[in-house]
């Protein structure tokens, strides 16, 4: 991990503001719940420092932490960060938002690939670090978290390090259950928990406004890279993925193409002319 540096907070917040302007609106049915701006600044600095000089895979990234890191680095607000960032997301709007921003701001180390994590992972062992903020698994004992973390482990060839961002609450039982299940899963797959940073992030989450998340950071027990065939997620894991009898039904969220991307959608308004004609 690189040494911490002083950060120009105004410049960092304004940069994150640009990133937020670029994010597609969240789809709650897929647990797209966005992190709040202040926490994005803090999280981006932390992750950039942690993954300094590494090739990084993001397994899903609605929050746009990947873009934030690359942008803060490119602007010189952070002097450290990963050498390469690839975002894997099943939402084409998110992938295209990454590509558009990277193109506009000349972020040469940032790219995105349309990928549904229920399917075999396409780039096994090509990364050093992974990052994921998955559906938190309140209804499925953390199975959804394990699916995303598992793809991250494949991305780093079961070597290197990873971070999962998941719910962390003193009062509720299910986040503790999920944290326990995820730690067991990590150990069973050759990773140990290196650090847990409790209750760091807040979200635009109207049904649980006080719920926070933590960073749970893993490190591989062995540095030896294992590249094996990736397989699809088993059906029995999917059966109750979104609650009882609620298996995932969508492979990809496709973007409706517009030439005027970023402009307010025309079905939101109409012009009433001066003079009424």
């Amino acid at each position: 991990m690189a040494d911490a540096q002083d950060v120009d907070l105004r410049a960092a917040i304004n940069a994150i503001s640009d990133v937020i302007q670029n994010r597609p609106r969240p789809l709650r049915e897929f647990d797209q719940i966005y992190m709040k701006a202040g926490d994005m600044v803090m999280q981006s600095e932390l992750i950039a420092r942690w993954a300094d000089g590494k090739r990084m895979a993001f397994i899903g990234d609605g929050d746009a932490i990947s873009i934030s890191i690359a942008f803060l680095q490119e602007r010189g607000i952070l002097k450290y960060g990963p050498t390469k960032i690839t975002v894997f997301d099943f939402d084409e709007r998110i992938c295209n938002a990454v590509r558009r921003f990277a193109d506009k701001e000349r972020l040469h180390n940032l790219d995105a690939e349309l990928y549904n994590c229920l399917e075999p992972f396409p780039q096994v062992g090509r990364f050093d670090f992974f990052y994921t903020n998955p559906p938190w698994g309140a209804s499925n004992r953390g199975e959804s978290v394990k699916v995303f973390v598992g793809r991250g482990m494949e991305a780093v060839g079961f070597a290197g390090e990873g971070v999962v961002v998941i719910a962390d609450d003193e009062e509720l039982a299910w986040p503790k259950l999920v944290l326990g299940e995820v730690q067991k899963y990590a150990l069973a797959n050759g990773f140990f928990v290196q650090k847990m940073m409790s209750q760091l992030h807040e979200y635009h989450l109207d049904d649980a406004p006080d719920l926070k998340s933590c960073n749970l950071m893993f490190k591989a027990i062995s540095p030896e890279r294992i590249v094996r065939d990736s397989v699809a997620t088993p059906k029995d894991v999917l059966e109750h993925f979104y609650g009882r009898d609620s298996a995932p039904k969508v492979r990809y969220v496709r973007e409706k193409k517009r030439v005027d991307y970023g402009k307010a959608n025309e079905d939101e308004y109409l012009f009433e002319k001066i003079g009424g004609t």
Binding site: D31, A138, L172, D207, P209, Y242, G243, K249
Partner: protein, 193 residues
């Protein structure tokens, strides 16, 4: 007031209600009652993600169906000034992907989501929120009285395991309106223009 709403086999969908999309509660009740008489069901519109149709209400209802029970919509009347426009929804969807036209006799205004109700009755009962807990979603397990406050005015609740009697005054809310919810329980809404 009676206190008979909650049981291990009855899930409670709690909601505060009042003026909605510039229509008084009395007018809404009269209109919905007529819709149920004419069409066999009505759509009770609402918004917000505390009772999201596919990630909260439908799994909640299926869970109680699995237990051999049901869920009941319990509404507390409140003074409100709901500013949503009186835009009528044209279509409804169970999953947000496949859409069907809303029958002509059913009018649901200014809402993103709706509950499917098969009856509607006024009542004078109380709900002990401190004896409930959130049944689904990211706040699952949180005590009902701690959850329903501030911005949160709806909740999928179940009976909590018996807590030790602290001698505190029970935290209750008055329930003025009750409805039984029918499959598919909750739907997405959209308008075409």
């Amino acid at each position: 007031m009676k206190n008979t709403l909650i049981s291990p086999k009855t899930g409670i969908l709690f909601m505060k209600v009042g003026v909605h999309a510039q229509e008084s509660l009395e007018a809404i009740i009269a209109r919905k009652t007529k819709e149920i008489e004419d069409e066999g069901f009505a759509l009770w519109g609402y918004g917000g993600n505390t009772c999201h149709p596919s990630t909260m209400v439908q799994p909640f209802a299926r869970e109680f169906e699995h237990r051999g029970g049901n869920i009941v919509l319990c509404m507390q009347e409140m003074v409100s000034n709901h500013f949503a426009e009186q835009v009528r929804a044209d279509d409804y969807s169970i999953n947000g992907m496949e859409w069907q036209s809303i029958p002509k006799g059913i009018k649901v205004l200014g809402s993103r989501y709706a509950l499917v109700i098969k009856n509607l009755r006024k009542t004078e009962e109380i709900l002990e929120l401190d004896k409930t807990r959130v049944a689904v979603g990211n706040s699952m397990g949180r005590s009902g009285d701690k959850y329903v406050q501030g911005r949160v005015d709806k909740a999928c609740l179940e009976l909590a395991p018996a807590a030790q009697d602290t001698g505190d005054q029970p935290k209750t809310v008055a329930i003025n309106l009750v409805a039984d919810i029918a499959s598919p329980y909750a739907v997405f809404l959209r308008n075409r223009t």
